[in-house]
Amino acid sequence: MKLTVNGRDVEVTSEADTPLLWVLRDELNLVGTKFGCGIAQCGACTVHLDGVAIRSCVTPVSAVANRDIQTIEGQATEAGLSPVQQAWLETDVAQCGYCQSGQIMTATALLTQNPHPSDTEIDTAMAGNICRCGTYPRIRKAVHLAASLMAEEQSA
């Protein structure tokens, strides 16, 4: 089966019912996407499917054939980190860091749809991503910072 991951076409051989998470991690060695719960409760496995944030742990690989999949590994470009990644780094969000790939993917999808979210909109959009280290105050800050970095990028 053919997948498009971070803009590249790849052929995978996992069984059709294998969750995308495990295809990414075990077959494609893209281990930045994390396993946290297996039932779409924690958000650690968040990736983008055609630009929309999804939970890869409950998405069978057969459902995403030939569609555009973006993972944390695809966020930085030749030019450097994405605005969301930059904001995360500048705000020093991460503690253990395990959930942050998922947080960044959810935040990126949010900002694509809503370039200037309010606090409440951030809370709602990010509610599905658990951070056991409790970096939530900095996540809020970093999403706002990312929004302004993206706005700068647009106007530049």
Partner: protein, 734 residues
């Protein structure tokens, strides 16, 4: 394997580049010997610093990173004295040998929020001694006085002659001139600090935003098999018989075998192993814990709490004072009940093991390397030094990865026995919640009275719960006259055992007793802030009850009780001002306070809540004041305070592991909820300036939040919660 790490990312890519250095480090005798020596790629200046001729400076870190900021503070300390950028230091795990054991624990262990305090002098000294050798080399080689040399950016410069050399370039002179590490060295005065005390971003932060940070679960080794374990429904159960016929027909499955932890399926991918596990038919012996229940624990513990326990402290005459108060009907009595809690680290437990002859290698996120080594060597019957531990980053720990039984480590070794390739065991979330180790369930019975002025006069507390340390190798250190000092941490006015601090309060008649509940049902485990997770609630909530009973404002009460404890008194005074304690709140809102000392650092929090009629509540604001001595990294401290209190808030709000008929009822985040972003309060952190040596901050903020919130709910509603979590009593954090 991220054995050699760089600040850019701690990434897999980096490992490949620097594996040569890794091998050198792994095999060089990094003794405390004062002899400096060089090998192919660098010279050990001392146990913690290696300098490469190409000027790569490597720190050997003997504390582990699980979000605590250990790598950041340790590299800052070394960099400060060595005059380099902390982010330019390469980082390598120090070998699991006794010379790298924590001077405090005498084991290879990262725990108790002591990393900053216990490495502050050793890492600075290591940096300063290395710098002194470089200065001596330049001075003698260039024939200039050492006093005229300056250092910066990993380079020694002599302004007068214009000569300069990188640290790496000076290695040749160190060897030629046989320069030895100095016996003593003068450390910088804090007024000279360029790095310490300034906000510093996380050392390994970059790899945590681009997905390249490598956790244990991410490691792939050639030929590695993945294992999924079917575990008994009851803790301590075992396999009687099994039928793996169908599982063995599943794609990718290599083997199914019984180990002590249960049945393990080995396959070529984790998903395949997990899927085949579901096809196993297993007959279990439910073992000695069949039939135990949380409710029975509560009932048994309540009964025990009515009987005399082991006496830990008896100041004044609490019994006499309470008898007198009884006569006038003015005794306040309450029983506080705290449930089992799971840690629920976001990275589930996992470990890779390879057994070859009489050697064993593991790749494991662990706080407790020397114990893992010890348990494995005992299990395999091989010398301890034959067990090599590779140390990836950890996706959280909160105490879980300091397992004294080395449960998730030694089971991987057992699964790997007889296999020619490495085996990685990964726990599902369900295994993590149902089959883990837990913060033990505790019951505290309290009786108290107040004097004519309304101040607490007598205090009698009996704590009942499973001991963390009894019967373990830590028994001699942490058990005092049969009392586990963790069971009473933060309940005693006087220092006790190896804990050099009391509550900070002075109550004239103060008696505290303890019962070690029978070891049953579960394996108890340290949970971020350990004893305080339950003693904090019992002590600070009951203090609030006495304040209410005596008609004294709870903040005022604490200020008076701490008048002889300057540090806590200062913390509370600042808190009172910063949180606008005296500003009236609207109806439906409430304010609560709690103050605790965890491992020397005083910390106090004031919270504001809003409670709806149906019991839904929000925590609107938390003001936290900490005195953790000299603040090595204020940015890291703020993060630990925010995160630490989030962890405690989730626990008190809805953390609950319930056992019925021996089986844990919860299984995943839908029925074991944890804090989410919308529930996170606004947090204000105030770090008090201090010239005292640095103490810890990783667990301190977890301790006061639970009682402060419960006290605020009482303030708002007049309803006192004594059985936790709050959600079990109709208060739902939204």
């Amino acid at each position: 394997m991220s054995e050699t790490l760089t600040p850019r990312s701690l990434s897999r890519r980096r490992f490949v580049q620097s594996s040569g250095a890794l091998l050198f480090a792994a095999h060089c005798p990094v003794g405390l010997s004062r002899k400096a020596y060089a090998g192919g790629t660098g010279a050990m200046m001392n146990s913690f610093v290696r300098i490469d001729p190409s000027n790569v400076i490597t720190m050997l870190a003997n504390n582990s990173e699980f979000g605590n900021g250990a790598y950041t503070v340790m590299s800052m300390m070394l960099a400060e004295e060595l005059d380099v950028d902390y982010r330019s230091i390469a980082l390598e795990a120090a070998p699991t040998t006794p010379e790298y054991y924590s001077p405090l624990f005498r084991e290879y262990l990262t725990a108790g929020s002591v990393t900053t305090g216990s490495t502050f002098m050793p890492m600075r000294t290591a940096g300063a001694k290395a710098r002194a050798m470089l200065l001596e080399a330049a001075s003698r080689d260039w024939n200039v006085p050492a006093s005229e040399l300056t250092t910066g950016d990993a380079t020694v410069t002599h302004a007068g002659t214009g000569r300069s050399a990188t640290y790496g370039e000076l290695l040749e002179a160190i060897h030629r001139l046989d320069i030895q590490p100095p016996e003593t060295v003068t450390l910088k005065d804090p007024s000279e600090f360029k790095i310490l005390g300034k906000p510093a971003r996380r050392y390994e932060g970059a790899g945590k935003v681009d997905g390249s940070a490598e956790f244990g679960i991410d490691i792939k080794l050639p030929g590695m098999l993945y294992g999924a374990i079917a575990r008994p429904p009851v803790h301590g159960g075992s396999v009687v018989d099994f039928d793996a016929t169908e599982a063995l027909t599943m794609p990718g499955v290599v083997k199914v075998k019984a180990i002590r932890a249960g049945m393990v399926v080995l396959a070529d991918s984790y998903w395949r192993a997990q899927k085949a596990r579901a096809k196993l038919e297993i007959e279990w012996d439910r073992g000695v814990n069949d039939g135990v229940s949380s409710e029975q624990f509560y009932a048994d513990y309540r009964a025990l709490a009515d009987t005399p326990g082991l006496l830990a402290e008896d100041i004044g005459d609490a019994i006499g004072a309470l008898d007198a108060a009884e006569a006038s009907g003015s005794v306040v009595e309450a029983t506080y009940e705290m449930p089992l809690l799971a840690h629920a680290t976001l990275e589930p437990m996992n470990c890779i093991a390879q057994v070859e002859g009489d050697t064993c290698t593991i790749w494991s996120g662990t706080q407790y390397q020397s114990n893992d080594q010890e348990v494995i060597s005992r299990f395999l019957g091989i010398p301890q030094q034959n067990v090599t531990i590779h140390r990836p980053l950890m996706g959280g720990s909160f105490g879980r990865r300091s397992s004294k039984t080395a449960d998730y480590t030694v089971e991987a070794v057992e699964a790997a026995m007889g296999e020619s390739v490495p085996v990685q065991i990964i726990w599902s979330r369900e295994e993590d919640i149902r089959s883990g180790h837990y913060r033990p369930l505790f019951v505290h019975k309290l009786r108290g009275s107040v004097d004519e002025s309304g101040m607490p006069e007598a205090w009698h507390q009996v704590a009942v719960g499973q001991s963390l340390m009894q019967g373990t190798k830590h028994d001699p250190t942490y058990m005092v006259r049969g009392i586990d000092i963790y069971s009473l941490d933060g309940c005693l006015q006087e220092p006790f055992g190896v804990f050099p601090y009391g509550t900070s309060y002075q109550i004239p008649n103060h008696r505290v007793e303890s019962h070690n509940a029978p070891k049953k049902g579960i394996v108890p485990q340290e949970w971020r802030s350990v004893g305080h997770t339950h003693t904090g609630i019992a002590y600070e909530c009951f203090l609030d009850e006495l304040a209410h009973n005596g008609g004294i404002d709870p903040m005022e009460l604490r200020l008076r009780l701490t008048k002889d404890h300057a540090r806590m008194n200062r913390v509370l005074s600042v808190l009172k001002e910063k949180c606008d304690w005296d500003r009236p709140l609207a109806p439906g809102r409430g304010r609560g306070v709690a103050s605790r000392i965890y491992n020397i650092s005083p910390v106090a929090q004031a919270v504001e809540v809003t409670v709806a009629e149906n019991g839904d509540f929000t925590v609107d604001r938390v003001v936290c004041v900490v005195d953790c001595g000299f603040a090595v990294n204020p940015l890291g401290i703020e993060g630990q305070v925010e995160g630490g209190l989030a962890y405690g808030l989730g626990g008190v709000a809805f953390g609950n592991i319930d056992i019925v008929n021996g089986e844990v009822q919860q299984s995943n985040f839908h029925d074991y909820p944890v804090m989410r972003l919308p529930q996170m309060p606004r947090v204000e952190v105030h770090i008090l300036p201090s010239d005292e040596p640095p103490t810890g901050i990783g667990e301190q903020a977890t301790t006061p939040i639970a009682p402060a919130v419960a006290n605020a709910l009482f303030n708002a509603t007049g309803r006192r919660v004594r059985r936790f979590p709050l959600s079990s009593q109709g208060f739902n954090l939204v």
